[in-house]
Amino acid sequence: MSSTRRAVSLRIGTLVALAAVPVAVLAVFFVLPVTGMVQRGLFFGGSFDPSVVSRVVGRPEIQRALWFTLWTSGLGTVLSVALGLPAAFALHRLAFPLQRVIRAGLLVPFVLPTVVVGVAFRELIGEAGVLSGLGLDGTPTAIILGLVFFNASVVIRAVGAAWESLDPRPGEAAAALGASPVRVLLTITLPALRPAIVSAASVVFLFCATAFGIVLTLGGVRYNSIETEIYKLTFALFDLPGAAVLSVLQLLVVIGLLVVAGRLRTVPDPAQSRVVVRRRRVSLRDLPVLLSTSVLVLLVAGPLLALLLGSLRVRDRWSLGNYVALQTPGFDPPLPVPVTTALMTSLAVAVQASLVALALGLLVAFAVTRRSRTVAERRVRAVLDGLFMVPLGVSAVTLGLGLYLSLGSGPFDFRDEPWLVPLAQALVALPLVVRTLVPVLGSVDDRLRQAAAGLGAGPLRAVMTVDLPAIWKPLLASSGFAFAASLGEFGATSFLVREERPTLPVVILRLLSRPGSDNYGMALAAACVLAAATAVVMLLVERLRVPSIGAL
C-alpha cells in the first residue's frame, strides 16, 4: 500500500520537477508581462471600470477592426486550406521531379519574417511593381493574398504529414465498391483527414487573426485588424486602456479557439492505421491537383522573385551594389552597425534562442506525455499542453510591449540584460518545439518503456533506450524551426533590442523607414539575405523528413 503511494508521489514529483522550470519561465517572462500590460490598461486610475470596456468595444473604428479581422481571417483560412490540400496531396502522395525543392520552398514562407514578406509583396504589387497594374496595393485582396502566402505552408505541413501515412486501403475498397475518385475523396479520405484539417485550419485562423506585419505593410492606413489597432492605439494615440481591452479580447478568442481545436483534434479512432505508402507517379488525372499546386508555387515564388530581382537593381541597372553596401552602416543617417554585423547578431541570438526553446520544449514535452494514472493528473498534463500553446496566439507586439513595460522596474529589472532578446524569441518559438515533440513522444508505446524497465533499465536508461532514438530527428527538426522562427522574429524583438546590437529584421525595418533609394535597395538585399538564411535552415530541416511536425 505504502509502496503504491510512494510510486504515485514519485510520479507526481517527476511531473512537478519536469514542469517547474518551464512554468516558472513562462510565468515571469510571459504571463507577468502580458497580465501587467492588461492591468495597466483595465485598471486605469486604480480601479476596474467596466464602462471602459463597453466604451472601447462600442467605438466604430474598433468594431470595424473586429469585423475586418474576422472576415479576412476567415477568407484567408478557407483559401489557405483550399490551396494547401491539393498541394499536400501532390507533395506527399505523388512522385515527380523537383518535389523536394518545391516542398522545402513552399515551407519557407512560414518562417519568413513578416517584414520580408511585406517588402516582397510591395515589390510585386506596389506602385513600382510588376503587377502594379492590377491595383492590388493597399486592398484587402493584397492582405488576404499575403495571409495565404504565409499559411498555406501550415496546411501543407499538417495535412501532408497525415496524408502521407494514411492507409490507402479503405479508399481502394471504396473504389472497388464502385466509388469514383471524387466520391472516395469526399466519403473516405476527407473524413479520415478531418482531425488534421481542422487542427491546421484552426491554427491558420489563429495566425491570420494575429498577423501583424502583413496587415501593417499591405493594409496601409485604410485597413486595420485587431493587431494593428492595438499597435496604433498604443503608439499613435497612447490609448493604453483601449489597447488593453483589445488585447484581452484577442487573448480570450485565442484561448477559446485552442480549446475548440483541442477538442476537434482528438481522433475518433486513435487506432487508425498508419502505414508507409508507396508514392504514385503523376498521371494525366492529377492535372487539377498539379495546376492548383502550381498556382500556390506562383503565389509563393512571385513575391520572392520580385524581391530578389529588386535587390539586384541599382538606379535601374543590374548591380550587386546593394549587397556590397551591406558591409557598411549604410547611408544618411548611418545605422549603428553594418548590416553584416546585424546578421551575425541575429545568428548568435537565434542559436541562443533555439537552445533555450529546445531545453524548455523538451521538459514540457516529457512532462506532458508521461502516462497519467488518474483523471486529475491527465487534466493537469492537458492544461500544461495547452498553456504552452498560448504564446502562439498572443501577439508578439503585446508580448514585447508587456516585457518592456513590466521588466523595466521592480524585482525584475532585466531590460538591459543581453539574454532578454533570446529568451523572448525562445518563448515565441516554444510552441513550435512543443508541438513537434509531443506527438512523437506521445506515440512511443509505453509498453516499450515497461519492457526496458523489465529488462533492468532504470528510468533514465529507459528514456535513453526508448525515447531518444524516437525523438532525435524531430529534436533536430524542431531546433531548425526554432532557429528559423527566431531569425525572423520582429514583433517582440523590436521592443527589447538594444540600440547598439540590432537584429537583421530590425535593421531592415529601419532601412525601410528611411528615405532614399539607396536605403531601400539595401533593405531589399538584407531581406534577401534573411530569406536565404531561413531557406537554408528549412532545407536542412526538410532533409530530416520528420513526419510529425504537422501536428501543430
Binding site: L177, P181, P191
Partner: protein, 333 residues
C-alpha cells in the same frame, strides 16, 4: 469470365509478377496460393485496377485496359476488412447501394438480407470499432457482396483471424460464395484456407505461375518438390530413397516421391521394416518418426505407441503419396 494473358507487374524495374496466364469461369472460386512475396497480392491488385500491369486482363473477352477500379464492377475485400470506421455496419454495407442511388427502403431490406446471409442479423447500427475480428470480416464480406460484383476479389480474407475462427469462417465463406453464385478470386498463403474455400488453385512462386488446376489435380500431382511441400506434404524423398517406397506402393519408378504424414501406417503385415526414432500422441493417433533401411527418416501413424528404438513394420497408403511432376509426364494413380 476473367482471363489473364501474359500479365506482368514491375516495381521500379523489378518484376513482382511475370507472365501470368489464368482463366476463371463464372461462378468459380479460384485461390491464388503462394508464400509471402510471391506476387499474389500484387496480381490481385492488378486485376482490381490498383496496380499498372502489362499484358492482357479481360472480362468476357473485353479488355479492362484503361478501365478505372470503380468501373470494373469488381468488389475487393482486404485481410483486415477495411471497414469505414466512421460509418455504422448498415452504412458500410449500403455504401455501394448509395452510390447507385438505390431507394432507402430497398437498401434497408438488402442490408438486412446480406447481414442475415453472413450471420450478423440485427447488427445494423453497430460501429465497426465495437465488432470482433470475425464479425468485421463478415461485415466486409456483406459489403462486398452488396455490389453484386461480377467478380469478388478477396485478399487474405481470413488470415487476420485466430485458428478456430478461421476454420469456421472458411466453411461459411465457401457456403456464402456458392449460395450467392459469386465468381471469386482469393489470395492466400495458407493452403488449408485455399482448400477449404476454393474450387481451383493457382500456385505462385517468385511472381510466376507454378501450377494451376482443380483442388484434386493440384493435390494429387504437385508440379515439383517445392510445390508438394508448400501444399502440405510432409516430406519429399528423392533418388534411391524414393525407389523402395514406390515399389512397396506398387508404382512405377520415379525420381522423387512426396509423402503425407499418414503415408505410412504401422501394420504387422506391412512390407517395410524400420526403427522407431520418436513417438508422439495426438488426439486421434500416434505419430511416429521411423528410420527405414535404404530410405532414411519418414513419418508414420500408428494406433498404439511403440517405444523409441523398437522395430516396427509399415505398410504404404498409395493414395497418401504423390509423385511430383508426374502430371506433366503421365497420370499415375
Amino acid at each position: 469470365m476473367l482471363s489473364l494473358r501474359e500479365v506482368s507487374v514491375a516495381y521500379d524495374g523489378k518484376a513482382a509478377v511475370e507472365d501470368v496466364g489464368l482463366e476463371l469461369a463464372d461462378g468459380e472460386v479460384l485461390a491464388l496460393l503462394g508464400p509471402s512475396g510471391s506476387g499474389k497480392s500484387t496480381l490481385l491488385r492488378a486485376v482490381a485496377g490498383l496496380e499498372p500491369a502489362t499484358g492482357e486482363i479481360s472480362w468476357d473477352g473485353r479488355s479492362l485496359r484503361g478501365v478505372p477500379t470503380h468501373k470494373r464492377g469488381f468488389a475487393l475485400m482486404f485481410q483486415d476488412g477495411q471497414l469505414f470506421p466512421h460509418l455504422s455496419v448498415a452504412n458500410n454495407v449500403a455504401y455501394s447501394m448509395r452510390l447507385r442511388r438505390i431507394p432507402a427502403a430497398d437498401r434497408a431490406k438488402k442490408v438486412a438480407d446480406l447481414l442475415e446471409l453472413v450471420g450478423l442479423g440485427g447488427y445494423q447500427d453497430r460501429l465497426p470499432g465495437t465488432l470482433s475480428g470475425g464479425e468485421r470480416q463478415r461485415v466486409a464480406l456483406a459489403r462486398a457482396l452488396a455490389v453484386e460484383p461480377r467478380l469478388l476479389l478477396l485478399d487474405e480474407p481470413l488470415s487476420a483471424l485466430d485458428a478456430g475462427l478461421r476454420e469456421r469462417l472458411a466453411g461459411d465463406l465457401r457456403r456464402i460464395l456458392h449460395e450467392a453464385g459469386t465468381t471469386a478470386l482469393m489470395v492466400t498463403h495458407d493452403q488449408e484456407e485455399a482448400f477449404a474455400v476454393a474450387d481451383r488453385i493457382a500456385l505462385l512462386r517468385d511472381g510466376r505461375l507454378v501450377q494451376e488446376g482443380t483442388l484434386r489435380e493440384v493435390w494429387a500431382h504437385p508440379t515439383d518438390a517445392w510445390a508438394a511441400l508448400f501444399l502440405g506434404y510432409a516430406r519429399v524423398l528423392e533418388g534411391s530413397a524414393a525407389y523402395p517406397i514406390l515399389t512397396a506402393a506398387g508404382f512405377d519408378p520415379a525420381d522423387s516421391v512426396a509423402l503425407r504424414r499418414s503415408a505410412f501406417v504401422a501394420d504387422p503385415a506391412g512390407p517395410l521394416t524400420g526403427t522407431v526414432i520418436s513417438a508422439r500422441a495426438t488426439p486421434e493417433q500416434h505419430r511416429l518418426v521411423v528410420r527405414l533401411d535404404d530410405v532414411g527418416e519418414v513419418d508414420a501413424v500408428a494406433d498404439t505407441a511403440p517405444a523409441p528404438g523398437e522395430s516396427v513394420r509399415l505398410r504404404v497408403e498409395p493414395n497418401r503419396l504423390a509423385i511430383p511432376g508426374s502430371y506433366a509426364r503421365k497420370s499415375v494413380e
